[in-house]
């Protein structure tokens, strides 16, 4: 590969009314930039409606890795005045707004922003259809940034090829109409021209894509789910691949059905899961209790969005943790894993299924909207299999059952670890009835205090001593630090950028990304907290749920502070930076 000719860090945004094709404009631009060899991070801002309301698609293009949409915008393509007004705060001074000449654009006095009117709708209409103004906009952007039609050819073909050669050609023409108009009327800025990057071979995918693929590779063959933003894309990706491996996707009538179907399949010996978001997770609470007491493997993915209730259904938040850790009735063991990056989303699924089958309990994988929906360039090497090895848990073999008298198999046998070897239906002589009631070792309803205490101990002790510190803590920087930044999920990107900036300024700062939240990886976490003068826990909610969990389990109340955000948008690096400066 060739060398990087210069460092690129550029953000492009397109804004308009929902239903106008803003998403496809963004997707085409992003995909093409990924194929051009850049690292891309694409963030979609949208509303819960089909038509109307401001929407935008922001793409950060870098010559090096990127995990974050970036704080500012370097170019805005606006189809209406609302897009300008809404996005003004993020627009960097000295940059440009390309807008549809169909309206007269205004910017406040004092802002140094160049307005570039391009008759995008008219040019599209000249090509036949006004919706192609999106492709005109891509052409305009390309001309401005020093890109050529060749950089977009395969993306246009992939996107419109199914609709026939005519549609492909019409889109190429629309692209060129925008491209030529820009070149005739304005001077190219050449920001992305002639850049050669040394990015290794990379895939372009979202956290949701990676979760579906991770589940597939982990041997999950049944996915039960009810559609809900922002988790539904997991289904879309699974639909493409599960059937090729004998697997199936079932859309349940509600989230309860989905979770209980997954429990049924887990009981019968198949890796099964359900994916949802907060409101669906609430409906699944009773399933956690059942999987807990019946000791059935169950994997639930929660792609968090802003609640409570319908809340901000298309906006990001990390407000479900209390429910995830404590929700449901009674007490039963559970494990909570938290991917931080798209690559993590892929790798975590194998671990989730292993842990669920090993400990025979629910495992909840907690993601968030910003991680789940943002497509990103991820080096293929980071998506290599082999970060975990297979563990299907304790299963009794048919051979071991040969001399067992039917009805005597002790499914809930008291063992040292609390984990009892299990049979699955179909195995000769292994039969038992799994019970949601308290039960004896041979799974007979049994309410004596002695049995109750024995079985509670048996279930709860399964996770005693489970500490995932060895892989669930990603730490960077000096262990002895004046400031430790802590977070999970999509805050990874902004935290990483703040950390770099503070380190460049000479601060002794570390960053720690938690990839398991329950049981908390206490051994490793305590060591890092011990060695840090100040700790700033960054999370997207009002009450500081992770910080509270850490304080509850480990203390360190005096040194832990929270950096919180709950307005529906992901953190910017600057928000964390300002708070970090207050702390140290």
């Amino acid at each position: 590969m060739s060398v990087v000719t210069r460092v690129i860090d550029f953000t492009w945004k397109v804004g308009g009314q929902q239903g106008e094709g803003i998403d496809s404009t963004g997707e085409i631009f992003a995909q093409a930039m990924h194929r051009r060899g850049f690292y891309v991070y694409a963030y979609r801002h949208f509303m819960s409606r089909i038509k109307g309301g401001h929407t935008h698609y922001k793409i950060r293009v870098r010559s090096g890795p990127v995990w974050h949409r970036g704080d500012q915008d370097d170019l805005l393509v606006a189809f209406d005045q609302e897009s300008i007004d809404y996005n003004l705060p993020q627009l960097r001074d000295g940059t440009a707004i390309v807008h549809d000449a169909a309206f007269v654009a205004r910017v406040p006095e004092g802002r140094e922003l160049e307005l570039m009117p391009v008759p995008m709708t008219r040019l599209a209409e000249e090509q036949g259809r006004s919706i192609m103004k999106n492709m005109v906009a891509v052409g305009v952007s390309a001309a401005m940034l020093g890109l050529e039609l060749a950089d977009f050819e395969t993306t246009i073909r992939d996107r419109f090829g199914d609709k026939g050669e005519q549609v492909v050609e019409a889109n190429r023409k629309a692209f060129m109409a925008g491209y030529d108009y820009y070149k005739t009327h304005f001077t190219p800025r050449q920001v992305l021209a002639d850049v050669v990057t040394d990015r290794p071979e990379s895939a372009y995918l979202s956290g949701n894509d990676a979760i579906a693929l991770g589940a597939l590779v982990a041997g999950c063959r049944l996915l039960f789910a009810y559609p809900i933003t922002p988790a539904t894309e997991i289904l879309y990706t699974a639909f493409k691949y599960f059937p090729r491996y004998g697997g199936a996707i079932v859309q349940g009538e509600d989230e309860m059905a989905a979770a209980f179907m997954a429990i049924g399949a887990g009981f019968a010996g198949v890796r099964a899961m359900t994916s949802t978001s907060g409101p669906g997770l609430s409906l699944m609470m009773e399933s956690l209790g059942l999987a807990g007491i019946a000791e059935v493997p169950l994997v639930i993915v929660d792609v968090q969005r802003a609640g409570p209730s319908t809340g901000l259904p298309t906006k990001t938040e990390q407000g479900d943790l209390n429910t995830i850790v404590y929700g449901s009735h009674g007490e039963s063991p559970r494990i909570v894993l938290a991917p931080s990056t798209v690559a993590d989303c892929f790798h975590v699924m194998g671990r989730a299924f292993n842990l669920a089958e090993h400990y025979q309990c629910p495992v909840i994988v907690v993601s968030d909207l910003a991680l789940g929906l943002s497509r990103q360039s991820v080096p293929v090497a980071d998506l290599a299999t082999g970060t975990w090895t297979w563990d299907r848990g304790l299963r009794v073999t048919d051979d071991e059952l040969k001399d067992v008298t039917p009805g005597t198999f002790a499914r809930y046998r008291l063992t040292e670890s609390g984990i009892s070897p299990r049979t699955v239906p179909g195995q000769p002589n292994g039969r038992f009835t799994s019970l949601s009631n308290e039960h004896s070792e041979i799974s007979v309803e049994e309410e004596s205090p002695e049995n109750r205490v024995r079985q509670m101990h048996k279930r709860m002790k399964k996770l005693h001593g489970l500490d995932l510190s060895d892989w669930a803590l990603e730490h960077h920087g000096p262990e002895r630090a004046d400031l430790l930044l802590v977070g999970y999920g999509s805050s990874y990107g902004p935290i990483a950028e703040v950390w770099r900036k503070l380190a460049d300024e000479g601060a002794r700062v570390g960053r720690l990304h938690l990839k398991a939240l329950w049981p908390l990886p206490e051994a490793g976490l305590a060591r890092y907290l011990e060695a840090s003068r100040h700790v700033l826990v960054v999370e997207s909610n009002y009450s500081g749920q992770v910080a509270n969990l850490i304080k509850l389990r480990l203390g360190f109340k005096d040194r832990i502070r929270s950096c919180l955000k709950f307005d529906g948008n992901p953190f910017t690096a600057n928000e964390i930076y300002r708070m970090a400066k207050e702390v140290v």
Partner: protein, 292 residues
Amino acid sequence: MARVTVMDYKQSIVEPSTWCPGCGDFPALAALQRACAGLGLSPDQVVVVGGIGCSSKAPSYFGAYGFHSVHGRAIPVATGIKLANRDLTVVVFGGDGDGYGIGLSHFLHTVRRNIDLVYMVMDNHIYGLTTGQASPTSRKGMKTKTSPYGTAEYPVRPLETALAAGASFVAQGFSGDVKQLTRLVEMAIKHRGFAYLNVLSPCVTFNREDTYDFWRENCVNLDDEPEYDPHDRTGAIRVVLQHEGLVRGLIYQEERPSFEAELPGLAKEPLARQFDLSFPEQDWARILKDFA
């Protein structure tokens, strides 16, 4: 294969029944055992799934694999089991509260899904386990602990509902006629698709109105109606309406592909038999190319 007898089931029952003497669920459970044995099904290949309620305890009293799950959710649990291992015979055994109250939505959606399950509902028009509250099938005006002045609601009409929802197998049995019930269960097991069998099963402790005598005297036995055609859905709805649900026998049956057969991709071999799940490296490399 050795002949299967009812004893093969009974020998592995370890939990004593808590049903009241005379409970209508006993004959229904016996009918299920006889039908399974009669069809030569090994108890290791049968799973009985219950929700919550007296009848939902059946898995523990049956002698096969079982799952006594939670209130209203037996059908989804059974659906997961069947999709995981399509060689198994999966029977859901529950009550009217479980199936027509808290679980009604699952019932209707499973009807349209037509997955190959048997669904036996012990319909006694009362909540028995919790000692006598109104159920979704309690007659209007029935006095119970939660309807001291008589229920104000009309009952769910499960047979018409299932027929209207497109069920591929609808039958009603009566605990007072084990012979017919056994035959209906056999038909239900053999039916490829969702076989729904409502069983008029008296609660001898908490319901003094819907008794063995009442149902024996008032039910029309379709077996005695040679003209009746169980392949005519309109006729089936008509006969149920005409007799206000008081019919027994096979009410309706049609052959059509089951959910497992229609579900794109689902392996013909039981998924549960794949123990080694290792994923081919070259496949993974190829999949990643789709995201280039």
